[in-house]
């Protein structure tokens, strides 16, 4: 057991052994609970102290004007911001006359723990009031993965050595006071009092508050009910107003006696349904939660998670901290996606309102790859959400003068909310990322109904967009000028290699699936000429190459730019807070994997030598000011043979939030990096590649890792891959007829339920020495940390 500060390293939970007041925001994010529909930040039960209070409902947002110093055609005028809705987590406690507040009195123990197998946040407090009364408080909190509208809290309090009077005030509070946030543009806009009271009600079955946002006109309801469990006499009362509801429980306890209150919470919202419909909906959810009871809810939670881990767990031997981190990562990705159900999966899940609660390409690019292989239905639902926004994406394309659909760079509901077009609208690659996510899901599941229902239309409409964005030059090569690729320290550049290759894939996929589903394609207006134009443009795609250096420029001309002044800016990260875009864009400096991502996702477009040279070149330029980078660098480092470097990057991707490496974990967790941690291990050391119909592996472990096992779901079977330093074993379960054909290091082989296959690992020899990173941006060594143990 390694103690990393106050977070002990344990395989199946994240535990905090003391309350660090300076890390409150971070811990609120780390301990956030969610099912993808409801999100509760890990605020203390008693509400204070807090860094950022947060209760979120997926896609419940308010509009805000987007101001411009100089307006321009096509700039979105209205933004969307995730709303901190009615707080139902709040349970205040009075001990005799002292409010329970850990900033006063004396705290003997304060431990919190998030258990990845029970899905519960537990808290264990031993506190002595300023008046000298020592008490113990134990709480457990869950957001149900099986009952989408429900959360619940078990609150137990007892006196330790003296009798005391206890008053529990369990509340619903709307329009909580928000902290003054920083000027960092990445931090969410704060909305004052976004919720307008519609109605409130209290009765024997609980209390409910109904509110509406003023501009987006969304209606929400929050309801609570309580069960009290104690051997002593107690009084109970409730009170409800427009913006708050309070249930009070009072009793006198002797040492040895305790008071237990279970609080059931139900949430609902709609932009269409009526107030009464919403009120009934939360009443039903609340009734259902009470019917299950606390024990029923916790049992369902464990069952749900058992099933998840059975098909998703990643075991890491030789690095306990990485083991813990990857399970933490998977748990939060699960929480973000599990019950999102045709709503967006935001870049921070529902763990905070960072980036205004928006969804970016992160979802299709980094989160869906994990969900596709661990919880494919959730991946399909996320893509169904995209499909549900097609009308808006078509409107946007038309507004911009293009055909097909232009999906928004950032949004909650589907409208473009990006206020800076060079790093928003111009980043059209998101459309190809969505198309690729459709194809990945289809290849992994074989789900043709999905293609028919939403997949083909997404492919066709994005292909049409690309055709109106691209053009042929005098030599017949197909170009995409003036677009922004993944690297946000470049923008509006010509022929970004990643974008060009992904657009070409998008076009090929659309042609391929249209040919497979000709009737549906006809319905969508696709004819043979259009399919041919897709194949032709795709085949003619231009990919710039710098012959002198033997590398691919990220975009045309990139390798001719001056190299960024890495020395002068060595202590000024993230660079975007210290240098103008003007200078970042025109020099060789890379915020996040861009060309490297092209070599990962479009690996067949590069030779092994090109990959090695490109990796070596870009590694020296990439500063990882984005959380989307380390995981990709891990995968490509492993592929080109720098297994130790891959190890470091995998470690960084997995630890990004537990260590607050980007200094903004407080605003919410980085779902893409957490998803990327899985990719770093599975695609990096497992060598999983999924760009073709057959799944490929090519495992290799870094020195220090004794073993790596993971399970992926593939067309109805679960494939387990167990890697040790010399060999890999592939086995399938899910029925005695289960069978799967895969490729190992280029060799096609078939695994059946009765016949696992074992293969010796290929030796991985790097073509070039391990490259250096920009000064001060070396990843922290995975091994040195491990050696602490």
């Amino acid at each position: 057991m390694i103690d990393r500060g106050h977070h002990p390293v344990e395989p199946w939970r994240l535990r905090e052994t003391r309350l660090a007041m300076d890390k409150l925001a971070q811990s609120e994010s780390l301990f956030a609970l969610s099912n993808g529909h409801i999100g509760l930040r890990g605020n203390l039960d008693e509400g204070e102290p807090f860094a950022i209070p947060g209760t979120y409902l997926n896609s419940f947002y308010e509009q805000r004007p987007l101001p411009y110093a100089e307006a321009g055609y096509g700039y979105p005028e209205s933004g969307q911001t995730l709303v901190d809705v009615t707080n139902g987590k709040l349970i205040r406690l009075l001990v005799d006359d002292s409010p329970f507040d850990i900033r006063y009195g004396y705290l003997t123990k304060h431990e919190r723990s998030l258990d990845f197998r029970t899905g519960m946040l537990e808290r264990d407090v031993d506190w002595t009031s300023p008046g000298g009364k020592r008490i113990k408080v134990r709480t457990r909190r869950l957001v149900s993965l099986t009952q989408r509208a429900v959360a619940a809290i078990e609150y137990v309090v007892e006196p330790v050595d003296q009798p005391a009077r206890f008053v529990i005030q369990s509340e619903l509070v709307a329009n909580e006071t928000q902290p003054k946030l920083s000027d960092d543009p990445r931090v969410a806009a704060v909305l004052d009092n976004p919720l307008h009271p519609v109605s409130h009600d209290g009765g024997e079955h609980g209390t409910v508050l109904i509110h509406r946002t003023s501009r987006s006109q969304q209606l929400m309801a929050a309801a609570m009910a309580h069960e009290v469990d104690t051997s002593v006499r107690y009084a109970m009362d409730q009170d409800v107003r427009e913006d708050w509801a309070r249930t009070t429980v009072i009793c006198q306890l002797q040492p040895g006696e305790s008071l237990r209150v279970v609080k059931y919470l139900a949430y609902g919202w709609s932009s269409l349904r009526s107030e009464t419909a919403i009120r009934d909906q939360v009443a039903a959810a609340l009734a259902s939660a009470r019917f299950s009871g606390w024990d029923g809810l916790t049992k369902q939670q464990v069952e749900f998670l058992d099933d998840f881990w059975d098909g998703a767990d990643v075991e890491v031997q030789g690095h306990p901290e990485l083991q813990q981190a990857v399970r933490f990562a998977l748990f939060h990705v699960l929480q973000a996606g599990a019950r999102a159900e045709r709503r967006a999966i935001p870049s921070k899940g529902l763990t905070g309102a960072g980036y205004d609660g928006h969804t970016f390409w992160d979802t299709e690019g980094f989160v869906l790859p994990v969900l596709t292989y661990t919880m494919p239905d959730a991946a399909a639902d996320a893509l169904r959400w995209r499909h549900s926004t097609l009308r808006m994406a078509r409107q946007r394309a038309e507004e911009l003068g293009f055909k097909g659909a232009a999906f928004p760079w950032r949004t909650i509901r589907g409208q473009e909310c990006s206020g800076y077009w060079p790093a928003g609208t111009a980043a059209f690659h998101i459309n190809a990322d969505i198309a690729e996510a459709v194809m990945r899901y289809y290849r992994a599941t074989g789900d043709e109904d999905f293609l028919d229902e939403v997949g083909l239309e997404l492919l066709v409409e994005t292909a049409r967009l690309w055709m109106s964005l691209g053009h042929h030059d005098r030599e017949g090569r197909w170009h995409l000028p003036g677009v922004t690729g993944p690297d946000e320290y470049s923008a509006v550049a010509d022929d970004n290699v990643f974008t060009n290759l992904m657009a070409a894939r998008n076009l090929r996929s659309a042609a391929e699936i249209a040919a497979k589903l000709p009737a549906r394609a006809r319905e969508l207006g696709v004819d043979a000429e259009e399919e041919a134009s897709w194949r032709d443009a795709s085949a003619a795609v231009y990919v710039p190459y710098d012959k002198d250096l033997g590398v691919h420029p990220q975009s045309e001309g990139f390798t001719g730019y001056a190299v960024w002044d890495f020395v002068g800016y060595k202590d000024k990260y993230p660079l975007l807070l210290h240098a103008p875009y003007f200078q970042l864009y025109r020099t060789q400096v890379v915020k996040q994997a861009d060309l490297m991502l092209a070599t990962y996702w479009c690996g067949d477009a590069f030779t092994d030598e090109e990959k090695a040279r490109n990796f070596d070149y870009y590694e020296r330029l990439t500063v990882r000011d984005s959380s989307l980078s380390a995981c990709v660098q891990a995968v490509m480092a492993a592929e080109v043979g720098h297994l130790d470097l891959a190890y470091d990057y995998a470690y960084e991707a997995a630890l990004i939030d537990m260590r607050n490496l980007h200094h903004n974990t407080g605003d919410g967790l980085h779902m893409a990096s957490l998803g990327g941690a899985w990719s770093a291990l599975v695609a990096g050391f497992g060598g999983l590649r999924d760009q073709e119909d057959t799944l490929s592996f090519d495992p290799a472990l870094p020195i220090g890792l004794a073993g790596l096992s993971f399970t992926v779901r593939w067309r109805g079977v679960r494939l387990k891959v167990e890697i040790d330093p010399v060999a890999v074993k592939y086995s399938v379960h899910d029925g005695s007829n289960a069978s799967m054909t895969l490729r190992h290091a280029g060799e096609e082989l078939t695994v059946t339920a009765t016949q696992p296959v074992v293969r010796t690992l290929q030796k991985r020899r790097p073509l070039l020495p391990r490259p250096p990173q920009p000064l001060g941006r070396e990843p922290r060594p995975a091994m040195a940390v491990n050696e602490d143990g």
Copy 2:
């Protein structure tokens, strides 16, 4: 005499024969009076009806926050907006009980006339009140060119056929009601009540109002005094409050009798001096104006203008409307620059608050070339203003991470106020434009004191900026990636030919003048190494060229882009209001001359054939959505032999405001286009080129122009150039020793006061046929209009 609607074509004035209510804003701009320090829009004396009220003091501005939907490092947080200051133009009139308001009663005559030789706006009204009293009102208004702080109005009223009671209320009004302006981003931000009262005072010598802006903390005073002249008994009274002052004159007049009031106005402002100092300053100005009297002021005005026209007039034979237009243009350029005296010359002069009253590269690029040859002291003062902002420009460069000075893209006081960096900060060419204006002024005047005082420092600091912006590639070529050139339908492109060539000129000029003034250069920290680095980079400058097409791409890669959909957007101009920047930037469409401007200002970098090919290529892509384009196209059309096309463009440049061709003359006149009208004639048909030490000419007239004469000031002499269809005569005056060496069509020749030189014109044969323009963007023919006559 040709009547163009209600503006008769007359050689020396702009006359309006009836009041067009739908063109009020335009006429307020056309009839604006200014001396570069005070600006009065041509609002009616009685204040209403108005489109945009306007009284401006050069550089008197208020700050306003610049909002961003997504902020970024180095974005300016505060903007500057020209303030509509205390209105002193206002003279209301009551006839018996009816207010004189041309919207009521019956208007027999309403004529206004701006006389370019007297510098006065005259108005002549014959009106019958709703009550049936017919009166005549004649007013004359001037902003003194000789007394910088003074304006004056002569107001004469008389009854025509019945006696009437007249009440004149002459006022000062602060914080006038502003109209609701459009959403067009180019229109100024409206500030509500920008003026906070400081003090007010009235006495026998007049009344004064003193106000202060709240954020910029600028102090201003407006004062007025009156002289009354009538044969009848009259009463006079005055009243003064915080935001207004009123002088009332009452009398009863019989037909044949008249009332004449002369109103003297004085304005002053300061950000440094005290209230009492400002108060005394305007009192002194007022006393001085009264001492001169109305007759003295008008006499001084005529003398000033006689001197100006003697050294500046352009005579056009064969096109009376163009004759009128070029004098109108010169008159307004004079008004903008005459007494600016180390303040900025805004892009709309002081004729309106369009573009927030900001100064752009328009000044150095299009206005100073005219002033340099017609009123060189004003050009020097404009550059001294730039120099006075060096501290801010150095700060800006440092903030952006560069050396030297980075002058703002748009500003009033010197701080960058651009809220959209791709078309602001990135347009670094403004620094080279300033350097070139320094050199142009120096070459035209030989003023070495100016170089020593401000010129060299401007050259050195801009050269230092370029050195930190540029870099050498592997082949040793010097590049400027990621900058924005003149064409605002492209941005953040690599190696913009115009910018690269102008930067190289800037570096060469800095090295040349540093070598000429070594002591001053040493003071500025310039050593031999630095000078050498300037020469080296300049010599190594990279200029992209498209061999296949035989033309220069405007920026690297430009000629490979898809051509804009000119047909689809044929009725959607200006394009920026109908298409996203994204699409404009990545296609071949040109808002305004860019590569063509390079072939004009850096002509020695191109062969004649390259110029012809480039002109032919870009002419088909240039939509002239900017007012800075037609004049440049006129010059280059003439150079490559399309004299008829040059004629059309010259006509467009000259008529831009008189015809409201850009639909925003109401916000103020386009000084650059008005300056450009002079260039179109003088540099276009006169062939004036001034990039070398010797001034060059190469005249050629289009069919239809019978003659063109102009005078330029050159190192203390006035050179008159008289062109007819077959020959040109060069003569100098200013003393019997006057002499000047110039180049005619490549031949060096010397003209003396006693020996004019006559030369036959070179035949101009175009290499290529006259090219077409984008559909619907053909310039209107200069000749067809002329043939009306």
